[in-house]
């Protein structure tokens, strides 16, 4: 069984089977990220579409060893596109309905709480808390500097702390 690097090279040479193996390897973590950023309902469709786009661009990937972070960035950018309209709707909801103290035992409340964060902050928080990546790894995966990773996480935590206390 070829290793991940060999699979990337075979997929670059046009092998759909090798690409399928790569999908198997990365699927779970990509869906987890998409769920946190784009939401439960659209996550798996977003990841599938992103993987098709990745297949088309794969020959242009210069460093095959960075396939994991490269494909994460593609998924993340697709998630950003998907969330554009939702952010507008949430801003309207925020203006119309005052926030109440959320019930953290409810999955729905948790999702609604996360949905109030901008997508970049959600992604940073997800990769830090759920995937336990370092700032440098998060930065590589999202295409931002480690300093920005810290800034996004700081703002996300401040916002969540305020929302949990019911002050927003």
């Amino acid at each position: 069984m070829p290793g991940p690097l060999a699979l990337v090279r075979q997929a670059q040479d046009g092998s759909p089977e090798a690409f399928g193996r790569l999908v198997e390897i990365h699927w779970d973590r990509l869906v987890r990220l998409a769920r946190s950023v784009a939401g439960e309902l659209e996550a798996e469709d977003v990841v599938q579409d992103a993987l098709i786009a990745a297949w088309r661009s794969l020959p242009r990937l210069v460093q095959p060893e960075s396939f994991g972070s490269w494909v994460t960035r593609i998924v993340f950018r697709r998630c950003l596109k998907k969330t554009r309209w939702r952010r507008l709707r949430l801003a309207l909801e925020d203006a119309l309905f005052p926030a109440t103290r959320p019930d953290l035992d409810s999955e729905l409340a948790l999702q609604q709480l996360l949905a109030r964060l901008p997508p970049r902050q959600r992604a940073v928080l997800h990769l830090t808390v759920v995937e336990e990546l370092s700032d440098s790894e998060v930065g590589t995966a999202l295409g931002i500097a480690p300093g920005s990773v810290r800034a996004h996480r700081l703002r996300a935590r401040r916002t969540l702390a305020r929302l949990v206390q019911g002050e927003a």
Binding site: W27, E44, Q48, I52, V130, L160, A161, V164
Partner: protein, 118 residues
């Protein structure tokens, strides 16, 4: 970190548990679905060859239509000196740039992929 206020532990714990649930579609099934949607990629060399052939054909047509030998602007005063017509295969079209210059277009048989093998 001093400047990062801790979100309540319960919240991060809840986020961690929620975020780590497995996807609805298992990885193997997802891989199959993705592979079914993949289209073969045309190699870079084949793409270049195809682009080059298209450019040459376009330039040739333009040269015929608007060039100095365009029939409506400068009809050739001398009689054509074409050789006796050669029998051509069915997939070959012969054009004349001028009286002495034939151009042959070889048509791709139906069903053959554009640009050849990658």
């Amino acid at each position: 970190m001093v400047d990062e206020p801790d979100t309540p532990d319960r919240l991060e714990q809840a986020f961690r548990e929620w975020g780590r649930r497995p996807p609805r579609v298992p990885a193997r099934q997802a891989a199959r679905q993705v592979v079914e949607r993949l289209r073969p990629r045309r190699g870079a060399v084949a793409t270049f060859r195809w682009a080059l052939a298209t450019a040459v054909a376009t330039l040739t047509v333009l040269a015929v239509l608007v060039g100095p030998h365009a029939p409506e602007h400068a009809p050739s005063p001398r009689p054509p000196t074409r050789q006796a017509p050669m029998p051509l295969p069915e997939n070959v079209v012969q054009w004349w740039l001028d009286a002495d210059t034939p151009v042959y277009f070889i048509l791709r048989p139906q069903g053959e992929p554009i640009g050849g093998a990658s």
